[in-house]
């Protein structure tokens, strides 16, 4: 057994898991606050990557400014989607809302293809390219830096949820909407806030993912693995999204290298299957009992 090689593969897997975790947090944020399963999360991520291309390459703005504008654009997108497509469906059958998010994903792909064409694109160079070594182990620099950034952003968000008024309102709404209303929390505003923050996080993940593997109008497929991550972690658990993201990233990398790339998704979906059989509410999700 080449332990150094296993260590390198594991680091690569953690790097991949960081992006799953970041996007997973965006997904959980929406679900916790609004109980909407947002299947357009992958496409929201894609829009973030393309906004960065638009500001950074198209308008040739400084990259730091392009990142900020792309993040704000992602937040605005989340806000607008919630106000125009999701809020009118409040109280409707969850399946209807679920279907609307599928429709939204098609609309976002169409918009991106109209504005930026369907050509695959590379993002302006954002992350450092100097090789990173941890001991003797090589880590691809883009993977390393995207993991560091994803971890940093997640940490900031966890602190915000804990100490910021908006974060507390968000958690209160998530745990009991009626009580939150009674305490004077503006619940509709919390809904908008959750979608805007999720849009911002997804845009950030999109920029990082695009920096690693380029952008295309089909990059929203990434959202499918993120859906697995959040189901495994628990739809309403931020901690679950973090741990499941890292776990799935690691398992995919190890399985891909030692068994072959064709086994990566087999393992991902096998984990999903086992979790659904044993703990359908996810590893860290809330077990809800519905009595009829």
């Amino acid at each position: 057994m080449d332990w150094l090689f296993l260590f390198e593969v594991s680091l690569a897997g953690l790097g991949r898991g960081g992006l799953y975790a970041l996007t997973g947090v965006a997904f959980v944020l929406i679900y916790k606050a609004t109980r909407v399963i947002n299947l357009a999360i992958g496409e929201m991520l894609m829009v973030g990557a393309y906004l960065f291309i638009g500001f950074g390459a198209g308008m040739a703005l400084p990259l730091w400014l392009a990142v900020i504008l792309a993040l704000l654009g992602g937040a605005l997108l989340g806000f607008v989607l919630e106000r125009t497509a999701i809020r009118p469906l409040l109280g409707e059958n969850p399946i209807s809302v679920f279907m609307v998010t599928i429709g939204l994903s098609s609309v976002l792909v169409g918009l991106v293809e109209i504005i930026w064409t369907a050509n695959p694109r590379s993002l302006p160079d954002l992350l450092p390219r100097d090789p990173i070594f941890i001991g003797d182990a090589f880590v691809a620099p883009k993977t390393f830096w995207s993991f560091v950034i994803a971890a940093g952003v997640i940490a900031v968000f966890l602190l915000l949820f804990r100490f910021w008024r908006g974060g507390v309102a968000l958690r209160a709404t998530a745990s009991d909407q009626g009580a939150a209303y009674a305490m004077g929390i503006n619940v509709p505003a919390v809904y908008s806030l959750a979608w805007a923050l999720a849009g911002l996080l997804a845009a950030g993940a999109g920029i990082l993912l695009g920096a690693i593997s380029g952008a295309s109008s089909s990059m929203g497929v990434f959202g499918l693995t993120v859906l697995v991550v959040v189901i495994v972690g628990g739809l309403d658990s931020v901690l679950g999204a973090l741990l499941a993201g890292v776990l799935i990233g690691w398992v995919e990398s190890v399985a891909g290298v030692y068994l072959g790339g064709e086994y990566e998704q087999l393992f991902t979906f096998s984990i999903l299957l086992v979790v659904l059989l044993v703990r359908p509410w996810g590893l860290f999700g809330t077990r809800e009992i519905e009595r009829l």
């Binding site: 991949r16 694109r121 390219r129 993912l209 295309s216 109008s217 891909g256 290298v257 064709e262």
Partner: protein, 391 residues
């Protein structure tokens, strides 16, 4: 005059005129050659589909300005499929049920595989975007031809180049876990061994794979002289090359037709420097355009760069023309069965120089291609081999 007679006087000229119009329209329909097409103008393959559509449209405009094919005007009807095989079939049904279609252009391997029985039933000859090895089989797919070497042959051309340049070199195959990606791999491994090359490793990446840094580590373990990447357009090729350089590998990376479009290579930026690949058509800026009259025609129509997928649309058109001409010259009716015979009989086929060498079909394919190298500072693909024709 009775009312009946008055009506008869009024109706007869109208009826006669209507019959004349109908008759002339019928005669015109008979003369016309219709090309139908399921083209992916939206969806993940739109970057190529839009260009196929433009290329065929421009070819039709040009051929009609030259008097058509043996005096018959050509009409093109293409509809968007979104790169969805079901939609491609629906478009095929819609077009072929309302038009007398002679040729058809398909947009994907899945569609081209599934529509073959319909082509045989309607006696239509088809070509398209697919270079799948499976379609290169006249027994199973008699109503189709490919617009270049099939994927197996493309890899074969790359391997012949490697064996010629660097005998005994080691080669890695990196491919996506899709039908497209797997297509040439087993045949490629066998051919590599036959050519005395060492197969260092085979790396598979799942479709839509986000991060290939673990797979790149596998490449470092194998340290191949060459890595042939297939089943991708752009991503994850730049990531592999970049990480290989960071790990100080000397591996030379190679790609197949859809990666070799200049617009895709440009997206790789500096990473593309030295990237090699196979292309069956001349690039827009080919330095020997004097050997390619149709390339000159394209340059006269457009004074800016045109994609190789645009040229592919032209190649589809000019090959349909050559096949139709051969069939009509032999005194045969223009249908799929007769045109199949033509494909088997034709020799020294000339595409106006768009394919750099005259050829005969080998099965359903054209096993001709050339190796190009990316020269990033010039922003061009530079030929590094002559036109290679597989035996």
């Amino acid at each position: 005059m009775s009312i009946r007679k008055q009506l008869a006087v009024m109706i007869w000229p109208v009826a006669a005129a209507a019959m004349m119009v109908a008759g002339s329209a019928g005669a015109q329909d008979k003369e016309e050659i219709v090309i139908g097409a399921s083209v992916p103008m939206t969806g993940p393959f739109a970057f190529a589909g839009i260009q196929f559509n433009r290329g065929i449209n421009d070819y039709v405009e040009w051929v009609n300005s030259q008097g058509g094919i043996r005096g018959r005007q050509v009409r093109y009807i293409g509809e968007d499929t979104g790169y969805d095989a079901d939609q491609s079939v629906a478009v095929f049904r819609r077009i072929t049920s309302s038009e007398d279609v002679t040729f058809y252009f398909g947009d994907s391997t899945a569609f081209q595989q599934s529509i073959e029985p319909e082509l045989e039933r309607r006696d239509i000859l088809m070509t398209g975007a697919s270079f799948a090895s499976e379609i290169n089989n006249p027994e199973e797919y008699p109503m189709q031809f490919l617009l270049g070497p099939d994927y197996g042959e493309q890899v074969g051309i790359l391997l012949e180049y490697i064996a010629d340049e660097n005998p005994g070199a080691s080669v890695a195959f990196i491919h996506s876990d899709t039908e497209f990606g797997r297509d040439p791999i087993e045949g490629g491994k066998k051919m590599a061994e036959d050519l005395g090359l060492e197969v260092a490793t085979t790396i598979v990446t799942p479709p839509g794979s986000a991060d290939v840094s673990a797979a790149a580590l596998e490449l470092r373990r194998a340290r191949p002289d060459y890595a042939i990447m297939h089943g991708y357009v752009l991503s994850p090729i730049p990531a592999f090359i970049e990480q290989a350089r960071q790990m100080r590998l000397d591996t030379r990376f190679m790609g197949t037709i859809y990666t070799m479009e200049q617009g895709i290579i440009d997206q790789m930026g500096e990473t593309a420097e030295g990237f090699l690949g196979v292309m069956p058509y001349r690039y827009y800026y080919d330095e020997n355009a004097d050997e390619a009259p149709l390339l000159q025609t394209i340059r006269e129509m457009h004074d800016e760069y045109q994609a190789t997928t645009y040229t592919q649309g032209w190649v589809a058109g000019i090959l349909m023309q050559r096949i139709a001409e051969h069939t009509l010259d032999a005194g045969r009716e223009l249908n799929g069965t007769n045109m199949r015979k033509s494909i088997e009989e034709m020799e020294n086929i000339d595409t106006g120089g768009l394919i750099g060498k005259k050829f005969s079909f080998s099965g359903n394919s054209i096993p001709v291609g050339r190796i190009y190298r990316a020269d990033v500072s010039e922003g061009r693909m530079v030929p590094v081999s002559d036109w290679i024709e597989l035996d």
